[in-house]
Amino acid sequence: MIRHLWPLYRPHLGWLLGGAALGLLTLLANVGLLALSGWFLTAMAAAGLGGAAINYFTPAAIIRGLAMLRTAGRYGERVITHEATFRLIAQLRVWLYERLEPLAPAALEDQHSGELLNRLQKDIDRLDAIWLRILMPMLIATVAVTLFTLFAARTSGLLALVLLALLLTGGLLLPLWVARRSRLAGPALVARTGQLRARVIDGIEGLGELLVFGADARQAETIAHVDQALRETQSRLEGPRLLVDAVQGMLAQAAVLAALLIAIPLLRAGEIAPPELAMLVLFALAVFEAVTPLPAAFGQIAETAEAARRLFALAEREPPIHEPAQPRPLPPPGAIRFEGVSLHYAPELPPALHEIDLTLPVGSLTLVRGESGAGKSSLIHLLLRFREPSAGRITHAGIDLREHAAEDWRTRIALVSQHTELIAGTLRENLLLGRPDADTRQLDAACEQARILDFVRSLPDGYDTWIGETGMRLSGGQARRIAIARALLRDAPILLLDEPTEGLDLATEREVIAALRPLLEGRTVLLVSHRALDLGTPDQVLTLTAGRLRQTPHPGNTP
């Protein structure tokens, strides 16, 4: 983990350490302010009583100076360390993306559900704690406690030892105890939250059934039950933290008592003057500020390390395909042939595809039918070279696809898929995926053909309309037609249609099919669908059942 983190942190080390230095300065100013105020007051009173002269300008000026230094130091420390940390996190995103990109989608398949991606996002954000909330407080506390102990030792070795013992109890022993408790309860908390989310989502998705079948009250009880379990786990985590907070406060008060017990005899013995007594007592009270953030810092170690571990484990996965050392240039379009192709996702699972033989002649329309889970998506992934066959080979114009660079091969393919595959961004950005250099005239032409141009023109921002989660929501039919326009712009000889009308109602389905027609012209088309679509007569119809492909005898005569 440090192997990965060090190169990321090194360029920012100067700023991070500078920020920490400011943090230390702030802390010292704070303690100094209180201690000096006590000294100043007592000295002034002593001078007043004794009628002696005193230089009060210097301490008064220092007091004012420390007050300002404290404020400025805190502000500067926060700005600098946050700035440096966020720069680092921004770089980390790019770093991580560069590592995840070759893995997608095959090696990231188990990460596909939104929950796991969300966790990834949170894991990245969590790494800001490494410096801000863990290392820096520890660093500052270590230096500060050393300085404070040395300062106390100038007056009394005993006082220094007692203070050190109290600071170590509050800053090390108690935090370690909290850390151990949270290491145990932390994973349980994640698990409980996950369970609660699953039950809640179940209750929402199945709400209709729960109500009609009178099972909604039972679901409410189940949710309350899991909620209760979450409460108990949270309390197990929070309990020690609350206790340690209170104990730290008491330790500071105990330090005051210790300072009094040690310094008063020293005063009586004439070893220190009255102003020093006041200074030492207030000093003892103030130094605990150095260790206050430590329980939280120790408490976060396990969680943060776990987040970092997950991220780096993900980044170190094996890519699912191997690029050829000497990629062959693409031949002119030819037939695509699956020759005994099998695909295993894992040894213990049945094969996703089993000895597939299939030929897609140039310009033909092939329909592969099958229920969800039959292996249709695997077929598409193999053609896109997202994965490699576990056995057999796929050739194009007689050349094994593995001999081409994957990106070269994909220039030949356009895809329209069932998933609402629009990225968050403007309409234009979504369309330009198909052809990055397309001009507005070409966009218009593609949208016209996909029967979406009128809609685009009706938008106030036209192609610059923001779509996706935080933008405008498109209907299923509109989204599908945008995807078709994108595929048209792509203008590739091979077209993959993955359930292109899934989830649309009858009328919309018809519109989408009408929009699809121009796209089929002169292309080699593989249409994957659980039922026949009115896209013209396929040249061949095959059925995929549990990874096995069989020819359907009478093409064109589909139910």
Binding site: L41, A90, G203, G434
Partner: protein, 577 residues
């Protein structure tokens, strides 16, 4: 997010304190005691130092005061701990109760108002938003309580000792909330301006990862690296803009506190020098000055907990504002008579203004297999929603066996119906638990009969664990046809008089569709079936086909009759693609 919404959300959050009134009372008492303790401690400490420094008192002479320090520190620590624990318990109670209320509200609203909300988002409200209001009760409100109680107590103690210091504290104290409010508003405006962009940029990385397969298929995934870097950088810059304001606000707060304390120290010092003031009083005031500002600073530091809770409360309020379809309590004990179902002049308009039903009249006989067809938007699904009690009719009525079906009879009516939706939801658990959703205590034999009638028994019994086979999340491992027939078994086990089917074969391949239709055929005459159909091939079995258009019935008859004459049904059959 308008300021008004903020205010309403915060008012609502404060209202929740009524749920924890007994805890809140104890918290107030503890906060007041803590204030008294702070003053007492300062008094004892000032006395000890004064005596030791200027009266030459030794440990023996000071023993009573030094010993008193111990119970004081234990009491202060113990009270602080108790207060924190009470606040934590309050937060826990509020969260649990709120989560229950939210789900109960969803039970009343039913699925109809949820149809356009992504499930995940709604789930986040019930899980994350509810959690996010915890800190408001655990940290923000206690800090606020201490701020309102402790500084006045300290002021009360300082005033008799030194009115000038008291005056400084009194004058600067209102500046703290004032400056905070000013800067807080500026920060809020800034973050509101940037909220949209921030959330867009924050989501960008996630969105790109989610769509990596697509980007890769279009060879755009490597190009995206530059955009990721740009967005991440812009995100950082804007986040820092907001943060800088937040840091500035706390810096101003600290500055005010630090300068006032320094001012108190210096002014007290000079009067001590001139002999105008007793040292004990001066030290007492100096010790209390930081304690005066501490609750104010702590309160300022909790402001983010408040802002986050308010944002969460807004989401929660949005869910709680979903219209309820059903009354809070309906009795399932009402005896409903069995007889024909009559729909009279039903009207319904969707919230967007689309008319779904415009005077629907329909009579369905017990045991009849009725199919409903029509173009999308004709009101077929709306009709089912009405029959399921998920929406109330705007006007018109539903009558059962001649008596109007009232909202209060909803639970009883639902015991009489079975439902198979387009995509039935399967719950984690065993096959048996899923089939027996409506009657968890059903004997094995009954469950088998239902499975048999739904045509799924052979499949289940061929499984090694049979009915006890666990179902994966969302029914993973089962085909669409199997899921649909499990849902049919679930509906049949409910022993319905009426079976409501909402395009149950829309997502099935032809083989599964045939198996499902065969299962329906066996129910003929025993159960009234209202079958909303997507594709017409499945309807040869129906006793009667009703064609709906524009929210009303435009034709009806059996397959033969409708096919033999020109009309809306023939139009549907021959509709050009």
């Amino acid at each position: 997010m308008k300021p008004d919404d903020h205010r309403a959300a915060e008012a609502w959050l404060r209202e929740r304190r009524h749920d924890i009134a007994p805890l809140a009372r104890r918290q107030r008492l503890i906060a007041a005691l803590l204030g008294v303790l702070v003053v007492l401690q300062a008094w004892v400490l000032a006395r000890i130092i004064d005596q030791a420094a200027f009266a030459g008192a030794g440990l023996n002479a000071l023993a009573p005061l030094l010993v008193a320090w111990v119970p004081l520190l234990l009491l202060r620590g113990g009270l602080a701990w108790t207060g924190d624990r009470l606040a934590w318990r309050a937060a826990q109670q509020v969260r649990s109760q709120l989560r229950r209320e939210l789900f109960d509200h969803l039970r009343r609203s039913g699925p109809y108002p949820l149809r356009e909300r992504p499930t995940g988002e709604l789930g986040n409200v019930l899980v994350d938003a509810v959690e996010a209001i915890g800190p408001y009760f655990a940290h923000y409100l206690p800090a606020r309580l201490l701020m309102t109680l402790v500084p006045p107590l300290i002021l009360l103690a300082v005033w008799p000792a030194d009115w000038l210091s008291g005056l400084i504290l009194l004058l600067t104290a209102p500046l703290v909330p004032l400056f905070m409010a000013l800067i807080g508003q500026a920060a809020q405006r800034a973050s509101q301006r940037q909220w949209r962009q921030l959330s867009r940029m924050g989501g960008h990385f996630l969105d790109v990862l989610r769509h990596l397969p697509l980007l890769k298929a279009f060879n755009a995934s490597r190009r995206e690296t530059a955009r990721i870097a740009q967005t991440a950088e812009a995100f950082r810059r804007r986040t820092m803009q907001v943060l800088r304001l937040a840091f500035l606000s706390s810096a101003v707060l600290e500055f005010l506190a630090a300068i006032s304390i320094a001012l108190v120290a210096v002014l007290v010092g000079f009067r001590l020098l001139d002999g105008e003031m007793a040292f004990f009083h001066g030290l007492f005031v100096l010790l209390l000055a930081p304690e005066f500002y501490l609750p104010l600073r702590r309160y300022g530091a909790q402001n983010h907990a408040r802002m986050e809770a308010i944002a969460a409360a807004e989401q929660i309020l949005e869910v709680l504002a979903l219209p309820a379809a059903a009354p809070a309590a309906t009795s399932s004990q009402v005896a409903l008579r069995h007889g024909a179902l009559e729909l009279r002049d039903l009207h319904f308009t969707h919230p967007g203004g689309d008319t779904a039903l415009a005077g629907l009249d329909l009579r369905i006989e017990p045991g009849e297999h009725l199919a409903i067809v029509g173009p999308s938007g004709a009101g077929k699904s709306t009709l089912l929603l009405l029959l399921l009690g998920f929406i109330p009719p705007e006007s018109g009525e539903i009558r059962l066996a001649g008596a109007p079906l009232e909202a209060a009879h909803l639970a009883a009516w639902r015991r009489r119906i079975g439902w198979v939706p387009q995509r039935p939801h399967l719950f984690p658990g065993t096959l048996r638990e899923n089939i027996a959703l409506g009657c968890p205590d059903a004997p094995t034999e009954t469950v088998r009969e239902a499975a048999q009638a739904a045509g799924i028994l052979d499949f289940i019994e061929a499984l090694p664990e049979g009915f006890e086979t666990p179902i994966g999340e969302g029914g993973r491992g089962l085909s669409g046809g199997q899921r649909q027939r499990i849902a049919l078994a679930r509906a049949l086990l409910h022993r319905p008089d009426w079976l409501l089917l909402d395009e149950p074969t829309a997502h099935l391949d032809p083989d599964s569709e045939r198996a499902f239709v065969a299962a329906l055929r066996n129910l003929r005459g025993r159960v009234g079936i209202v079958h909303v159909a997507h594709r017409l091939e499945t309807l040869h079995e129906a006793d009667r086909i009703v064609v709906m258009q524009g929210g009303r019935v435009t034709d009806s008859g059996d397959w033969q009759t409708l096919c033999s004459r020109p009309g809306p049904f023939r139009d549907l059959l021959e509709a050009p693609a």
